[in-house]
């Protein structure tokens, strides 16, 4: 188990993906800035994407027959495109929110409070 001399596998990619995912989640949970939350979402999406790509590769697992192949990459592409769309809409919402309230603090938006 030496990271420098042993080949890496899908697990290791998943580990990096997990760190990004969790950072994204913590980012969403702790940032008060609306744009910070958007960045958290980007991190989460990328963390998930990394898993798709890792499972697509035939060289990262013991039995290459189980690999997703090109499908993994295709899903990743779709995710990237949808993330772009999501960012555009979310940004529009964020700007609208900012224009209406003159703040970007999401804690002010607590109309949902029960």
């Amino acid at each position: 188990m030496n990271l420098l001399t042993d080949p890496v596998g899908a697990s290791h990619f998943m580990a990096v993906g997990a760190v990004m995912f969790v950072c994204g989640v913590v980012c969403m949970a702790t940032k008060r800035n609306g744009l910070g939350i958007l960045m958290g979402i980007e991190l989460v999406i990328n963390g998930a994407n990394l898993n798709f790509v890792a499972f697509g590769s035939e060289f990262l697992r013991r039995n290459p027959d189980y690999a997703l192949g090109v499908d993994g990459q295709l899903i990743a592409l779709f995710v990237i495109v949808l993330a772009a769309a999501e960012a555009a809409v979310a940004l529009a919402i964020a700007l609208n929110y900012y224009n209406n309230r003159a703040t970007i603090d999401v804690d002010r938006a607590d109309e949902l409070k029960g």
Partner: protein, 198 residues
């Protein structure tokens, strides 16, 4: 262990650590401007990981669309809203602790899942290095337009991604119109009659 450095692993470590460190930095930094910068570096490193996993085309798209497009959009947002009090917004300590604890639990769960399956730990037997062989972009395009996979593995199971491709394109159109509409209404309200917005 013969002691030779496995360069593929080395680059994985390099990019992986960069991605991890900067994503943590995104969380820890208080300034929204720095967050955007760290996010750029993190996503760039992720593109590098895509290359290492043999997904060259996806990596390129990541750089082009994500780092080049989406993030620029985000940075625009930052520039438009980054006024004095909103650059640094402090979070209360308790929220840091709860968020951190929840994140660590989730991380533990995910890491356990990642390393539980022996099959995912490394390349196939006999392959010393996880050599990255990029799938040709042409194949990706063909698959996207509907031709079934010709590598003998997925034949018969599904027939390409024509329908999702169509849905995504319509979706993009909707998004374009929607965001344009959102941006437009706000300008009209502010310009014409502020009293009207009840």
């Amino acid at each position: 262990m013969d002691g030779h450095i496995n360069w593929h692993s080395f680059y994985f470590l390099l990019f992986g650590l960069t991605a991890c460190v900067f994503s943590v930095a995104v969380v820890l930094t208080g300034s929204i401007v720095r967050m955007a910068f760290y996010l750029t570096l993190c996503l760039g490193a992720t593109a590098g990981l895509f290359f290492l996993a043999g997904a060259g085309f996806v990596g390129a798209m990541q750089l082009l669309i994500y780092v080049g497009g989406t993030l620029v959009l985000l940075i625009f947002g930052v520039m438009l809203t980054a006024q004095g009090p909103f650059v640094n917004m402090k979070t209360r300590a308790g929220e840091w602790v709860i968020g951190g604890a929840a994140g660590l639990m989730l991380l533990g769960l995910l890491l356990q899942a990642a390393f539980r399956v022996e099959e995912w730990r490394g390349p196939p037997e006999g392959v010393a290095t996880a050599t990255a062989e990029n799938a040709p972009p042409g194949e990706i395009g063909i698959r996207m337009l509907g031709k079934p996979g010709d590598n003998g593995k997925a034949v018969g199971k599904e027939s390409g991604y024509l329908l999702p491709f169509e849905i995504v394109s319509v979706h993009l159109l909707v998004v374009l119109i929607g965001s344009a509409y959102l941006a437009r209404t706000k300008r009209r309200r502010r310009a014409s009659d502020p009293a009207e917005s009840t």
